[in-house]
């Protein structure tokens, strides 16, 4: 059975770590900032759902170590391929938070420029983004660039054919892709036992001839160490890595879900014990890097982010209806021109005509 990489215990004490370099404490302090802000972002998004300002929000509460770890493992010029659950990673990677929420406010399908940020649109159809990641990495390699692509997916998504095809392509083409599976134990209501009969998802690496690592996904230090290695391997031309992060979705799948139907409060409580935030906090307090002043500062930054998101989302104005037609093709077809004209006429006729 694949051994799990863990560098910090749940109480923040440092564990033996022979094969993996423990990250610089300063780096972990930076990450802690991300965790605090990410947690606050998740909470803010939840309340925007309650206020009806987001259609839905798939929270990553409990998975923030993966979110921040993924974004922080990448260098400038690297690419991130997120799913619907990875908004915190997207924001950490530099996408303006309100743009990252555009999908969920219902204003447009993707609110940011993927090329400018090297962050692909958040993928909803499961596992479909993984072959794209391979293509992006392959293009870079063809041009001799050392770009690395980090692609995220969930445990459920590993069952899809596209997961298989992407990992296999990456291995065959020695593509610079890090596949990070956030195994949060559920695909909506369906438990991991329905996704695999293997001991771990990392076991799949062998079948692709690809190095695979199982990491404690709630241990920010371990996530960082493992992803650093995988990114370095990819950047140096040694190909892809499969990383399975053992983590847990502390909240329901989305606000529309009722997690009580399929899992126990006890299970949630157990995983709350392994929450990455207090874990890293305890470690950093121990090192002396984190004191009350710094903590207050972070709280403030988190509140600032939250208020920025609140205000930004409230200030959003949906695109003009005409936008429906402008970017379907580079040049509108005769058919679309006719349809755009029809809508335009309707809108100018205005209300009350009938």
């Amino acid at each position: 059975m694949t051994e799990i990489v863990r560098l910090l215990d749940t109480d923040g004490t440092v564990l033996d770590h022979e094969r993996h370099a423990f990250p610089e404490p300063e780096r972990l302090l930076e990450q802690y900032r991300g965790l605090v802000l990410g947690r606050r972002f998740n909470e803010q998004a939840n309340s925007l759902v309650r206020q009806g300002k987001l259609a839905v929000y798939p929270s990553s509460r409990g998975q923030e170590a993966c979110q921040i770890g993924a974004a922080e493992a990448l260098r400038e010029g690297d690419w991130l391929f997120p799913t619907y659950r990875d908004t915190v990673a997207v924001v950490q990677r530099g996408v303006p938070p309100v743009e990252a929420l555009t999908l969920l406010t219902g204003d447009w399908h993707c609110g940011y420029d993927p090329l400018a940020h090297r962050v692909a649109p958040q993928a909803t159809p499961l596992a479909t983004q993984l072959p794209h990641a391979v293509g992006v990495g392959h293009a870079a390699r063809l041009r001799g660039e050392d770009t690395v692509v980090l692609a995220l997916c969930g445990d459920g998504a590993t069952s899809e054919g596209d997961f298989h095809e992407a990992l296999n392509f990456a291995a065959v083409f020695t593509s610079p892709v890090v596949f990070l599976v956030q195994n949060n134990k559920y695909a909506i209501s369906v438990p991991l036992s329905r996704q695999t009969a293997a001991e771990s998802l990392a076991d799949k690496g062998i079948g692709y001839g690809m190095p695979a690592v199982l990491v404690d996904g709630n241990d920010p230090a371990a996530v960082t160490a493992v992803l650093d290695e995988a990114v370095a391997r990819a950047a140096s031309g040694n190909g892809p890595t499969l990383v399975e992060a053992d983590t847990y979705r502390l909240e329901a799948h989305t606000n529309a879900d009722d997690a009580g139907r399929y899992r126990s409060e006890r299970e949630v409580a157990e995983w709350t014990e392994r929450d990455p935030l207090p874990r890293l906090r305890a470690y950093l307090r121990g090192t002396g890097l984190l004191g009350p002043a710094r903590e207050a500062e972070l709280e403030e930054a988190a509140e600032e982010l939250a208020s920025h998101v609140r205000q930004g989302v409230s200030a959003l104005t949906p695109p003009e209806p005409g936008a429906l037609f402008t970017e379907v093709y580079g040049t509108a077809t005769q058919r679309l021109a006719t349809q755009a004209a029809l809508l335009d006429t309707e809108l100018h006729a205005g209300a009350g005509v009938r």
Partner: protein
């Protein structure tokens, strides 16, 4: 049992329940259909009532689900699978077109596949991308598939029971936005068989032809037109394949004017088929060109813009206005 208020979701749940009770070989499976009861709660309680062998969750893989259903049907079962949302059936497209649709024909009738594929489909629920596709035209275009699109709770019940008893594969399109619309209905009342359209409202001036989510919109448009002095008939297709060509042509011949209404992008769609068919069969009865009021030929819009895309009462009535009444 007589008429009671029933949502379409409840009607479908009851149909599944009754079918499972009537026939041990009926199996319900897919993603989240077990303990959760489906993301729309359509399979609620089935796992409890019939056990995990009859109603179960699978690994998350639509092609695998469809493929497994085909195998189960090859070996005596009657699988009813759920594709969680319209666009998430696309990974199963090869299984559907190359096997599900063709097996009977390929084996000259030796292997029949009584599989029902339930697809919550179409828009109007404020869903984000990939959750609101009108995918009916892909299926209706594929020979070998029977494609149903109920608009009412009663039809949802009756057609689903008929679909499960059918010897051949059925794509069963459930209009999401009707799931929780509740209506007075007697689900045990007999329902017209697969392949028959139903005139929901008579009207001598023009015929509105609709199915699934567009039927209530068409009825509302007809209601409003009546207030304005025009009598519009409303034909509910119920079944896209087989299409009740006879009833369609009769209804249009009776009025000489037709508007086809559907959420699907219109290009090369079921709506195009209807316009083409009417043009072919009713040529000398038509007083005006057949008009299509469909979704635009664009990817399904984001939630805040979807109302501009969907056939609306106004857009339907505008189309009716343009049916060259000056020539009447």
């Amino acid at each position: 049992m007589s008429a009671e208020k029933l949502t379409m979701a409840a009607a479908i749940n009851t149909a599944l329940r009754d079918a499972m009770r009537a026939d041990d070989s009926v199996l319900v499976f897919g993603e989240d259909v077990g303990p959760l009861g489906g993301v729309f709660r359509v399979t609620e309680g089935l796992a409890d009532s019939f056990g995990a062998a009859r109603c179960f969750d699978t690994p998350l893989a639509e092609s695998g689900i469809l493929g497994m259903a085909i195998g189960l049907a090859m070996n005596g079962m009657r699988p009813v699978v759920e594709m969680q949302f319209d666009a998430f059936a696309y990974p199963a497209f090869e299984q559907i077109t190359s096997h599900l649709a063709k097996m009977r024909n390929r084996t000259r009738g030796a292997l029949r596949l009584p599989v029902v594929v339930r697809v919550p489909y179409a828009g109007g629920i404020g869903g984000v991308e990939h959750h609101c596709d009108s995918s009916e035209s892909y299926y209706a275009h594929t020979p070998g598939l029977t494609v149903l699109a109920p608009a009412t709770s009663a039809d949802a019940y009756g057609l689903l029971r008929a679909a499960i008893e059918y010897p051949d594969p059925v794509i069963f399109l459930e209009p999401k936005k009707r799931y929780f619309a509740s209506e007075e209905t007697d689900i045990r009342a007999p329902v017209a068989p697969i392949g028959t359209a139903e005139l929901r409202r008579a009207g001598r001036d023009a015929t509105l032809i609709a199915y699934g989510p567009s039927v209530p919109v068409a009825l509302a448009a007809a209601e409003q037109a009546a207030a304005e002095g025009r009598e519009l008939g409303v034909l509910d297709l119920r079944s896209l394949v087989p299409l009740d060509e006879h009833t369609v042509t009769e209804a249009v011949r009776a009025t000489g004017r037709a508007v086809v209404i559907a959420e699907t992008p219109g290009f090369a769609s079921v709506a195009a088929e209807l316009a083409a068919l009417i043009g072919e069969r009713c040529f000398h009865h038509l007083e005006a060109p057949v008009r299509r009021v469909t979704g635009f030929d664009i990817p399904y819009p984001p939630p805040k813009l979807e109302r501009h895309h969907l056939p609306s009462i106004d857009r339907i009535l505008d189309a009716v206005d343009e049916l060259q009444w000056e020539y009447a």
